[in-house]
């Protein structure tokens, strides 16, 4: 895990409060893009920061139900 990944893990609860139900992109320990479309969020993060591999993750809703297969 790199610094951005560790930052996401450490701040996940805060991210749920702020971005629940949306995708975010994290570069240099900052949320640089967010929105409902994963592709648009990653494209925007690359365009804004030039990062080759932004950390893009969907933040779950606080009251959502964790579902698997």
């Amino acid at each position: 895990m790199d610094r951005d990944d560790r930052w996401i893990v450490q701040h996940f609860d805060q991210l749920i409060t702020q971005y629940g139900g949306r995708y975010i992109a994290v570069v240099r320990r900052q949320v640089v893009a967010s929105g409902p479309s994963a592709k648009q969020v990653e494209d925007e993060a690359r365009r804004r920061t030039g990062a080759a591999l932004p950390s893009v993750i969907r933040i779950p809703l606080r009251d959502g139900v964790l579902t698997g297969v």
Binding site: M1, F12, D13, A38, V56, I57, R58, G68, V69
Partner: protein, 137 residues
Amino acid sequence: MRFSYTRYRGGQAPIIPIQVRGRRRWHKVWVYVDSGASHSILRPEEAQRLGVTDLLPQRVAMRSSGGRTLAIKLYRLAARLGTWRGLVTFGVPQGFDLDFNLLGRQDVFEHFIISFREREGQLTFTPRRRARRPRRR
């Protein structure tokens, strides 16, 4: 490789980043490591991000659940986990969704000894050594 669990809903969950090769480039993808899932699953939105939905699926699997028939398109994609690289079959569900991408057993678990250390909140992947071929005489 050691990953910290992600704090989630007052608890913690084994949600980790891996890398997956999309249509044009590598992408970082966060997955819930699920030892109860036979296959890995990409959310449809994530499959679109990777450009995978433009590709022809390897096949379409049908599953029955709760009286419904569910279709899952299967794609075989290159993936990286630490220094390990391999091909992993990812299912992309059609008409239903999940909260997280899943990293299931097929194509992945056989290459590692995986420890879910719930108390410490850590997940470790220890690569298995490849079996040596017997020497020719």
